[in-house]
Structure formats: C-alpha cells, structure tokens
C-alpha cells in the first residue's frame, strides 16, 4: 500500500465511485423501465358503486373494482381510486391509500366512492374493516422499528365512528383483562378488528409476550378481555355466532396459518378445507362461504373462496385480485 501515492489512491477511489455509480444507475434504469401499473380508467358503462347488491368488491392492480357475485371471474368494473386495502358494508367503504410517496391515509367512502373522511395513518396498510351497519370502521397498519426490541415490527389499530367522528387512533390505551386478571405490557399490539351488530363490541387480535390472543373489546368502556390463544385476524359471521380466523400452525406463525372457524357458543375450532397458508383477515360472502387472498410465489394475488364448515374444497374466485369484500 505504501507504494501508492495519495493521488493514485484518490484516483482509484474516484474511478471506483464512477464505476459503482454506473452500476447503480444502470440497474435503476432497467428497473425503472419495468412496466408500472397502468391506471385503469373507469369503465364507461357503469361506475363502481358500494351500494348493496349481488357484487363483490376487491382490489385489482391497486385499484378498487367490483365483479358479479355469480360470475366473480367474469367482467370487472375498475375505478380510478387507488387503494391497498378495501372493505365495505351498507354503502360505507374504507380504503387505505397512499397519501404521499411514503405515507398512507385511511379514507371513508360513501356508496359513490366519494371521500367523506380522511385520517393520516402511521406505517403501512394491513387490515381494514367496516361494521355490518356501515357505521364503524377500523384499520391496522404495520409500523417498523419503534418496537422496544428495536428491530421488530409493531402494529397500530384504530377505530372511527363515522356518525360522531370519534376516533381511537390506537387501541393500545385500552384496559386489558388477560385470563381474568388485569394486565399491562408495553409490547402489546392489536390487529384485525371485526365488529359485532351493536357497533360497540368488537373482536380483535392482541399480541403480547410472544403470544397472540383473541380478545373481545368494548369501545365505550375502552376495555378488552382475552378469550382464546392463537386466534388471529378474526372475522365475525353475518349471524354473529362464528369467527373465521387464521390459526398459526403449531402455534408458530413462522410455520404459516390455517384458515379456521371458531364457534363462539362451543369454542370449538374447525379447520377449513384450505390447506395452504392464509395470511389474511377473511371475509364472509354469506353465512357459509369465506373469501380470502392468496399469493403465488411471484407475489401476485388471487381471491379464493372456501366453505366455512370445513367441507368441500377451495375455489379460485377472482384471479389477479385481493382484499375481497361482499357488498351487503
């Protein structure tokens, strides 16, 4: 090394910088040429609407779209509205969409896809849900790097009452009863809310100390209590008696999840016929059918359906779509 003069060394550094810069720029140039998502124009014939009817709502290429419930693989109506996650009920929609290049917002939509409220949310969109009456909306985002283990991820789950505008930005302030006793821990995370018919009670996932619990919450009282372990992303059936959820295989999320149904009367769990790992909050299309997103090895999503009672087999419903919701 001593043989090299400082000038020679500097020349090598500059040459390396130019070379490496060219590599980076060249790669970026080819990456930028890759086809982006063309914004699908709104279909001329009929606009997307959230009004109740025999249609399914889903996201196609990051845009809100609907298909006929009887022919989900058939013609699709695509709106110009860009969402990463969507859900709707009784003419009210929730859409988690980009706000700037690196921030996201939750918007409440009316039946004509007009924005009625918008709330900036921290982190990255994950789950969204509307109560059956269309009054309550809830969302979950992933937040990186602020968990106290410093490298882990945490979640934030919020709830908004669209009638009063009352907002709970995060469930983390709720009083917790775990296994009958009071509990608190800074590592508590919530995700995947599903509302009951009274628009006050809800079910959700609470994670703490490496365990994941099904909790029942009371919005007015700001409380949650644990009901069962290893139940994630609950989704309440239209009759309010069963919860579809994802159950971690061997209680270890690293092994994937089995889409299952919990009977709230007997607390018995029935696995559905879907054997592939489902990482989604399922939607009830009717009293007996679940819809959910599955991704191929290339990350491309498809919407599948499966009977909720464990019978039958899964069926591809909407190819190339994600985030399904019935329009009820």
């Amino acid at each position: 090394m001593t043989a090299m003069s400082t000038r020679a060394k500097l020349a090598v550094v500059v040459a390396s910088a130019v070379l490496l810069g060219a590599v980076a720029a060249g790669y970026a140039a080819t990456a930028a040429q890759a086809p982006g998502t063309p914004p699908p124009a709104s279909d001329g014939e009929q606009p997307v609407t959230l009004a109740p009817g025999p249609r399914l709502l889903a996201i196609t290429d990051r845009h809100v779209s609907t298909v006929a419930a009887t022919d989900p693989a058939g013609p699709r109506t695509v709106a110009g509205l860009e969402c990463l996650r969507v859900y709707a009920a009784a003419g009210t929609g929730i859409c988690l969409k980009p706000e700037t290049a690196w921030s996201y917002q939750m918007v409440v939509l009316d039946a004509a896809l007009r924005q009625t409220r918008a709330v900036s949310v921290p982190g990255l969109p994950n789950r969204a849900r509307v109560s059956a009456s269309g009054r309550m909306v809830s969302w979950t985002t992933f937040v990186g790097g602020d968990s106290y283990t410093s490298s882990g991820f945490s979640t934030r789950t919020g709830i908004l009452d669209t009638h009063t505008g009352a907002t709970v930005a995060s469930l983390e302030g709720f009083t917790i009863t775990r296994d009958g006793r009071g509990y608190r821990n800074p590592d508590v995370n919530y995700w995947g809310v599903t509302f009951t018919a009274d628009d006050n009670r809800f079910y959700a996932t609470m994670a703490t100390g490496g365990r994941r619990y099904l909790v029942r919450g009371d919005l007015a009282a700001r409380t949650v209590e644990t009901l069962k372990e290893n139940v994630e992303c609950p989704s309440l059936s239209p009759d309010g008696t069963r919860l579809a959820f994802k159950e971690a295989v061997d209680a270890d999320p690293a092994k994937g999840w089995r889409l299952s149904v919990l009977d709230l009367g007997t607390m018995r769990v029935t696995a559905t016929a879907e054997t592939r790992s489902v990482d989604d909050q399922a939607a009830w299309l009717d009293g007996g059918t679940l819809a959910y997103t599955l991704r191929g090895d290339d990350g491309q999503p498809d919407v599948w359906t499966v009977p909720a009672d464990g019978s039958g087999s899964s069926t591809l419903a909407i190819p190339g779509a994600e985030s399904p919701s019935p329009l009820t």
């Binding site: 490496l20 980076a24 790669y27 970026a28 921290p122 410093s150």
Partner: protein, 426 residues
C-alpha cells in the same frame, strides 16, 4: 478536501502536554475510518428505511414473524464480536477484520435481492448484515485508539461518531430519492446501497492504515496474543473494572423504543410523528458528539461519561415529571442525544489507554459486548417493571437505577492514577 487537514501521525510517541494537543487535528486514519463509517451508514440506513416498505408492500409478508430470532442473533453477534476482536489482536490484522465486517454487510445488501420472498432467507441476510456490524466495530475503534495520541482520543471519537451520524442521516434521504426516481423498485435501492457499501470498502482498503509508526505494538517478533493472555484482561485490575463498569452502565439504558413510547404516552403525540423522535435524537447526537469529545479531552473522560449518564437519568425523570408539551419533547430529545454523544465514543476513549495495546481490540469488544448484553437484560427488566407497576413508576425506578449505576461506576473507576493517565492539571 479533508485530506489537506490530515495531520500525519507523529513518528515519536505522542507528546503529553496541552501544547501539542492544541495542534492535533484528528489523524488521517481517523478521518479515513470516519469516511468509511459515513459511507457505510448511508448504505445501511438506506436499507433500514425501506425494509419495512419492501417486506410489507413489496413482498406482502407478515413482518411480525421476524422478531422471533432476535435474541438468538444478539447473543451470536456478541460472541462473534469477541472472537473477531481476539483474532484481530492475535494476527495483528485489525484492518482486515474490520474490512471483513464491512464487506459482509455490503454483500448482505445483494443477498436481499437473492432472498426473494423467503422469510428464513431474509432473516439470514439480516443476520449476516448485523454480524458484519458486530465484527467491525471493535477493530475499527481499536484502530482509532492506536492512531491517536491518548490526549486527543475524545476528539477523535467525537469526530468519528459525528461523521457516522451524518451518514445515518443521509441514508433515508438517498433511499427515498432513489425510490422517487425509479418508482417502487426496492431492488434498485438495494443495488445502490450495495454500490455505496462497496465504495466504503474501497476507501477502507486504500486509506485506512493497519499501524501508525510508533504505536509500539507492531513488532513482528512479539509473541502472538494467546487465549490465556486475553483472559488475563480479567485479571488485570483496571481492565476488569472497566469491563465491569461498562456492563454496569449498560444496565442503565432501557432502549430508544421505550423512551419514545413513554414520550408518546405523555404527549398523546400523533402516531405519524413517532419516527421523527429518533430523528431529533440523532440530530442532537450529531451536533454534540465532537464538542463533547473535545470537552472529554479537556476535563477528563470519566466526568463526561458521568455527565452523560446523568443526562440519561434526567431524561427518565422528565418522562415521569412535571414538564409537558413541546418543551418536554425538545428537552428530552436534546438530553437523550446528549447522553449518546457523551458516552458512546467517550467510553471507548476512556477504555483505550487502560487496555494494553496488544489486546486492545479484544478489550474494546468485551466492553461493547458487556454493554450490549447488559442492555438486553435491562430492557427486559424494564418491560417487566412496566407490566408490574405501570409506565410512570417503571421510569422512576429506571431513574433510580441510573443513580445506583453511577455510584457503582464511580466506585469502580474513580481511581485517577489508573484510569485517567492524562488528567489535565487545573
């Protein structure tokens, strides 16, 4: 530009006296190491900034599955850090070991491209990245101590850490600039990050020197450092007390996440502003690192370290205390950044002269590992205290713990003849 300010390391053993120190800028090797750290941190923070986006929106993975192996990684990194430090001393190849660490992290950036959607593969790549970080820091800090006169160590570490944080600051900006230019191509960010990290390795290879003349440790005829000799560090009074003190001080830290969480609790801060708390702390760190390093050379390193941990204790009290609103945020983040500035580099500056030059990398690795493991313990204890007593009582208990740790540290280290060989007469 900086090359013109390089002061050649003195051929004679560094003179001891305030007159000489006034002239001593930081040595060329420190500037070179600072430049390598700056460039590497741009690369590392680029990836850190976009990794959540990539995992959640790019790959649609459920990132909650990632935390599982965290403890295992931390333990393995701690062990390998000490092994790497010992190897650096034994073969007198500190630059080589540091270079391997930097190269590992650079390669890990490309690994992200190859890992695809496999969670185990991504976890392995992240582990390699962290391993590189763990392996390189002790030999790098040892090189800084070996290329700097003992009287200017505070300044040298201050400058190095300030350059390091500038890189950490620029990283996210570069990452988002790349994303703006190429759209949502995270791969382009990883490739750019790799290229930047590779440039840092080039700078290291060309400009960082293994030895400076007169460091007194490089006689090839010296017997090699043995494992027995390394264990001897624990028998020598000053070195043992230093490692103990470092671990003890580590027990005083509860971790950034908790501090920001408590701040957010107190303030009812909009959740989307949460990431800015870390930015505020880094800013205070960046600004204060060099001045506090210089101060440590003037008044002694131990007083500055003690002052830093006092700032940490006051930070905890503020989180439980009467101040509210924006003053609370400004005070807390300034003090918390000041804590880092007064302790991170200064502690190594304090340790350097106490550790025999032959075993310096091993010693520094032990100091850093002791701190890391103690922090792991204290963060778990703090979590338990929070569960049992609630956040306010837990943070008050943490403040009390800081006071106790300070008393213990003073008891261990406040022996001027051993630990402050270069006390400046008043």
């Amino acid at each position: 530009m900086y090359l013109s300010t390089v002061s050649r390391p003195a051929a004679d053993p560094p003179a001891s006296g305030p007159r000489r120190r006034r002239f001593a800028l930081v040595s060329g090797n420190v500037v070179a190491l600072g430049t390598v750290s700056l460039i590497t941190d741009v690369s590392a923070e680029m990836v850190a900034a976009v990794l959540p986006l990539y995992l959640v929106l790019g790959l649609h993975l459920s990132p909650l599955a990632f935390g599982v192996l965290d403890g295992v990684h931390t333990g393995a990194t701690a062990l390998l850090r000490v092994v790497g430090g010992f190897a650096a001393d034994r073969f007198r190849r500190r630059k080589l070991i540091a270079g391997i660490g930097y190269a590992l992290s650079a390669v890990a950036k490309l690994g992200l491209l190859l890992a695809g959607r496999s969670i185990p593969a991504i976890g392995a790549v992240i582990a390699v990245d962290r391993l590189g970080k763990g392996v390189r820091s002790a030999p790098r800090d040892a090189l800084i101590t070996l290329s700097t006169p003992p009287g200017a160590l505070g300044r040298a570490f201050g400058v190095h850490r300030a350059m390091d944080s500038v890189g950490a600051f620029l990283g996210p900006l570069v990452a988002f600039a790349v994303l703006l230019v190429v759209g949502q191509s995270y791969d382009a960010v990883f490739v750019t990050s790799f290229c930047i990290a590779a440039l840092a390795v080039v700078v290291l290879v060309l400009f960082v020197r293994e030895r400076s003349p007169g460091d007194g440790v490089s006689d090839p005829n010296d017997p090699k450092v043995s494992v027995v000799e390394a264990f001897g560090l624990f028998r020598s009074g000053p070195a043992r007390r230093l490692v103990l003190a470092a671990a003890l001080l580590g027990l005083a830290t509860i971790g950034d996440g908790f501090v920001y969480l408590l701040l957010q609790h107190r303030m009812d801060l909009g959740l989307r502003w949460f990431p800015l708390l870390a930015v505020g702390t880094s800013l205070a760190y960046l600004v204060l690192a060099a001045p506090l390093g210089v101060l440590a050379d003037r008044i002694g390193r131990l007083p500055v370290v003690i002052g830093g941990y006092t700032a940490l204790g006051v930070t905890y009290l503020l989180l439980a205390g009467p101040v509210d609103g924006w003053p609370l945020i400004a005070l807390t983040l300034t003090l918390y950044g000041g804590f880092y500035a007064a302790t991170d580099g200064v502690l190594i500056a304090l340790a350097g002269p106490v550790l025999p030059a032959r075993l310096r990398t091993t010693g520094i690795a032990l100091v850093q590992t002791g701190q890391a493991l103690a922090y792991l313990v204290s963060s778990v204890l703090f979590g338990l205290a929070w569960q049992a007593w609630g956040p306010e009582a837990a943070i008050r208990a943490a403040a009390v713990a800081v006071a106790a740790v300070l008393v213990g540290t003073l008891w261990l280290l406040a022996s001027p003849s051993r630990l402050s060989p270069r006390r400046v007469p008043r």
